[in-house]
Amino acid sequence: MHDLAPLTALGTKAPQQEKIGLVTLAEAPDWALASVTARLGQEAACAAALAQTLGAGAPGVARYHGGPVLGAFWIAPHSWMVQAPYSAKPDLAAHLRGQLGPCASVTEQSSAWARCDVTGPAPLVAEMFARLCNLDMPQLPSGHARRTVIDHLGCYLLRGDGGAVSVYGPRSGAQSLWHALELAARSIV
């Protein structure tokens, strides 16, 4: 392990957590991310290689696959964001490059996004996100992944089971994002 200790996007050593009414907000910094984009003409090969790496099909449009270690969500045509627990894959990009070979362009994104996990009763979480972004939360199936805008910040939103939603926001705007989530959670208490 090297000498540099990480800081969470909210600027602390330990991740923040806050319970507001029945909704819990939890900063989740321990995720490694890397984007995977197929090279031109290698789209099928890339999808296949990614599927093999994930142990599941490469997620389709606006889909999210959460695996035990490696998970991935669709971000653009022939392009995915792969995620893994940071401790398991601290250099996820290098790992993926090794796995996928020349069919894909892989880019390190681990620190680019600040993740916040929101949990609570599904209808309440839907009410909360109705105040934050224009996705139709009650209609989004589990496993849906979309980029959206929350208070002027472009974010990825992953819909888990029940009332679980993970938001990846730009790391530099993490405080503003957290603030927005807090305000929305308070206004539905």
Binding site: A62, W74, P77, S79, N134, R146, R147, T148, V149
Partner: protein, 95 residues
């Protein structure tokens, strides 16, 4: 407005950034004879129709696709949305 993204389905137009007439795909060859006039017409002159307009929208807060959207400028009705990359290829653009 709501843009019917060919992959993602209906998307709020707020997620997009607008550029303009889809004729901007047809960039002239800069090394060709008469490039100066061709670029003038390409970059500056517009049909600016009152009616159906093919135009470029970029899904900046989405999947980063450029779309060619066919929209009625009198009613804002959108009749078609295609991936600009497909349109560009269909119009003969390549490398």
């Amino acid at each position: 407005m709501i843009i019917p993204h060919p992959l993602l389905g209906p998307c709020d137009a707020q997620e997009f950034t607008y550029l303009g007439d889809a004729s901007l795909i047809a960039r002239p060859d800069g090394m060709a004879e008469g490039a100066a006039d061709a670029f003038h017409d390409y970059l500056y002159l517009r049909d600016n129709p009152a009616g159906l307009h093919r135009e470029l929208w970029y899904h900046e807060q989405g999947d980063r696709s450029w779309l060619v959207v066919t929209r009625n400028t009198l009613t804002h009705e959108i009749v078609k949305a295609e991936l600009a990359r497909d349109v560009a290829r269909a119009e003969g653009r390549g490398r």
